[in-house]
């Protein structure tokens, strides 16, 4: 056996998705294990270089805020796919559908009758004083009661049974272009391996997205709604994805300056004069979509857009104000919220969470900072986060101060021993922690999930932070047609 490929045992005992405790590969991964064993040394390295070259040439890059030198960076791509069995996927899918239904019901309620608050399930201040709650939307019904048309639900595993939701993303979840491009890359770079596994396709995602967007077009619009993708522009970190999606959807990629609003109708400026717009898949945050209602200095949206939206002449996806549902503080109530609306148990688990706003919880958290992950309620992208076991003393003391000044802003979770997957890097393969972001689409005609999602991997040994801005990479996610790879 090639010593280079020896799999290093992790210091933390955790669930490895490929290898059982006794070192043997699970049935699902049997072919992958064999491939890793039999492929000549250097193959993975050369494939990785190839992938990097291809990605760079296509221009799949992302920008890191505040990092001028590397204004356009690649997200490292790992050639070893992450596998899910058929049954595992069905369980996960059912959970995702349930989760997103509940999120939409919650948003409809919060901006409408507020029954969940009156029933005392969620404290009113948590919702109405939330940064992502938009008072401007109060009393407004989103078309078809769909608020989060495109949701990204971050999933982690700790054993071969349960899926845990780490975070809901109800605003503008990104990463779906990587899911699609990673698949293309795998078909190109490991065609045999791919052909041997019956992998459920993801390439129909753009079609599903288009169908979902069409289904929510305003009732008054013509039979062929004009759908556009609204991007903040090419200096946005996810610009590649915006243009990628517009291209795959076959719709225009517009910037704020391309839109005008006249008498509550949105138009785009074209070489043939103004053309009416019916559905906007917007990748611009709430605060910037209309200088007449939100940030007055914004040029990323269009003046009057909210007026057109509220009068029902254009549909925005996702809806304005949807962010209140993916808040980390609301997250902790998701089991109760699910029971309240559906009368059923949540199919996906929540990571147990201490709400630091509650004095007992705060005390516990302060006493156990070195064991916990503390997150800022409104933080994203892995910023404003303390990973206790990996933090220095100063970092912990720093966070203690932050917690004491504004406990409401924080939640804490146990350090999960996230599952690991075999991951290749220069000269070897070793298990690395992973998570999964499946993309869930909601339209007036139902909920759609393409099998798979974006697997993010923490490339640093032992690291639990998978965010691309923090040195994470991605893998292709293969949902197999069967529960085990046929030998």
């Amino acid at each position: 056996m090639n010593s280079k490929k020896a799999i290093k045992p992790m210091t933390l005992p955790c669930f490895d998705e490929m290898t059982k405790g006794d070192g043997a590969a699970r049935a699902l991964y049997s072919r992958i294990a064999k491939w890793l064993e039999t492929s000549p040394p250097g193959l993975l390295d050369s494939r990785r270089q190839q992938a990097e070259m291809l990605f760079r040439r296509i221009g799949i890059t992302f920008a890191v805020y505040g990092d001028k030198e590397a204004a356009e960076r690649l997200i490292p791509f790992d050639i070893i796919p992450r596998l899910l069995g058929h049954d595992e996927w069905l369980r996960l899918e059912a959970g995702l559908v349930q989760r997103v239904k509940v999120l939409n019901m919650f948003l409809t309620d919060v901006y409408g009758a507020q029954e969940i608050i009156r029933a005392g399930v969620i404290p009113a201040d948590l919702v109405f004083r939330n940064d992502c709650y938009r008072p401007e939307m109060q009393g407004h019904r989103a078309p078809h009661d769909i608020w989060t048309h495109i949701a990204g639900i971050d999933i982690v595993r700790v054993d071969d049974q349960d899926f845990y939701v780490l975070e809901d993303n109800c605003r503008t979840p990104s990463g779906v272009s990587y899911m699609l491009e990673n698949r293309e890359m795998m078909i190109r770079l490991a065609p045999d391996l791919f052909a041997e596994h019956a992998v459920m396709p993801v390439e129909n995602y753009p079609d599903s997205l288009l169908a979902s967007l069409r289904s929510v077009a305003p009732p008054r619009c013509p039979s062929e709604p004009n759908i556009v993708v609204l991007t903040p522009g090419q200096f946005n970190s996810a610009y590649y994805e915006h243009s990628f999606l517009a291209d795959k959807l076959g719709v225009e990629l517009v910037e704020g300056g391309d839109l005008t609003v006249k008498d509550d109708v949105v138009y785009m400026r074209t070489t043939e004069g103004p053309k009416r717009v019916d559905v906007i898949y917007r990748r611009v945050d709430d605060e910037f979509i209309d200088p007449l209602v939100f940030n007055p200095d914004s040029v990323l949206g269009a003046a009057g857009l909210m007026g057109a939206y509220l009068s029902g002449n254009v549909t925005l996806a996702n809806a304005v104000g949807a962010g209140v549902a993916d808040d980390k503080a609301i997250y902790t109530y998701m089991p109760e919220i699910t029971r309240f609306y559906l009368g059923e148990e949540p199919k996906l688990k929540n990571v147990s969470t201490w709400r630091c706003r509650e004095p007992d919880a705060l005390k516990y958290v302060l006493d156990h900072l070195s064991e916990l992950v503390v997150k800022e309620v409104n933080g994203s992208g892995g910023y404003g986060m303390l990973v206790g076991p990996h933090a220095t003393k100063e970092q912990i003391e720093d966070f203690r101060k932050k917690l004491l000044t504004a406990p409401d802003n924080f939640i804490a979770q146990p350090t999960l021993s996230l599952s690991t997957c075999p991951t290749s890097f220069l000269g070897g393969v070793a298990p690395r922690h992973v998570d999964l972001r499946p993309f869930v689409l909601s339209g007036s005609d139902g909920v759609r999930v393409v099998p798979g999602g974006l697997t993010r991997v923490a490339l640093k040994e032992g690291s639990l932070v998978v965010n691309s801005s923090q040195g994470g990479g991605t893998k292709d996610t293969w949902v197999l047609e069967t529960d085990a790879a046929t030998p």
Binding site: A124, D125, P135, H140, L292, G304
Partner: protein, 277 residues
């Protein structure tokens, strides 16, 4: 007080702009303290005015002009009757959950100084309504009222630090301070119909309202150190000035345009019209 009101806002652009979109919050609603007999909002050049109601219950007119445009007039006029109800606001549809009025906005964030000031001022007073009177008096005492208004008011903490501000700015300070001590508060934009103080300084006036159990919403004017009386015409409410602003506009053009606004208000006091006053 019965009055005929004419309000005229003249916008002049330094260079012609290609198009202007604007929203106007210039239409008062009736409640126990005021009755609106007749009201019109108009713009020049002519444009289609769309009337709607925002989430806070304000009546909003929106309109779009295609350029090139150098001059823009906005008129609001009508007949109203106001009554002295000691600042208590009843008879308005309240659509917003009360907790919303505890939200911080960028313009109404209280810093340590303002918070300490409010807590200090309130230390001796237990009665909820009394506390707000104390706060209003304290702010009126601490901050000088500088009539007139710039383009957009400075954030509350900055205004408080400078101890001087316009009616809008002081109203935002009051809102910030009230929310800082957990009292729901909102910003009110309106007209001052009396001739003392602000009358000369411009038509616009602004004050604050706080929610006091069990009375409900009560107005406070930190600029003049009183509660609104029948000389106040209440027009729009919001979490801060930006949410209740009489006019918000965005222009398209080759370059950013500065709109130089000329404000003119003619308030006709016709006390003889009606016996009461």
């Amino acid at each position: 007080m019965r009055a005929s009101i004419q309000y005229h806002l003249q916008i002049s652009c330094a260079e012609p702009v290609r198009a202007v979109n604007q929203v106007l919050r210039l239409t008062p609603r009736g409640f126990d303290g005021q009755e609106i007999k007749d009201w019109r909002v108009d713009v020049l050049p002519d444009a289609r005015m769309r009337r709607s109601e925002d989430a806070f219950g304000n009546i909003v007119h929106s309109c779009c002009h295609d350029g090139p445009l150098e001059q823009l007039s906005i008129m609001a006029e009508g007949d109203i009757e106001t009554y002295d109800v000691a600042g208590v606001v009843r008879g308005l549809p309240e659509k917003m959950p009360l907790d919303v009025y505890l939200r911080d906005t960028a313009a109404t964030q209280a810093d340590k100084d303002l918070l300490a000031f409010a807590q200090d001022a309130l230390s001796g007073e237990k009665d909820p309504l009394g506390r707000m009177h104390v706060l209003n008096a304290a702010l009126n005492e601490a901050c000088a009222f500088a009539p007139g208004e710039g383009e957009s008011p400075r954030p509350a903490k900055e205004v408080f630090a400078s101890r001087t501000g316009s009616a809008r700015e002081l109203a935002q300070v009051f809102v910030a301070a009230a929310r800082g001590v957990d009292v729901p508060a909102r910003f009110i934009s309106g007209f001052f119909l009396g001739d003392e103080g602000v009358g000369r300084a411009g038509a616009h006036h602004a004050w604050a309202e706080v929610f006091v159990e069990p009375i409900g919403w009560v107005g406070f004017d930190p600029a003049l150190g009183c509660c609104p009386r029948d000389e106040y015409l209440r027009i729009a409410l919001g979490l801060d000035f930006a949410g209740a602003a009489p006019r918000r506009a965005a222009a398209f053009g080759y370059a950013r345009e500065d709109a130089a606004a000329v404000l003119k208000v003619d308030v006709c006091r016709q006390a003889s019209w009606h016996g009461q006053q």
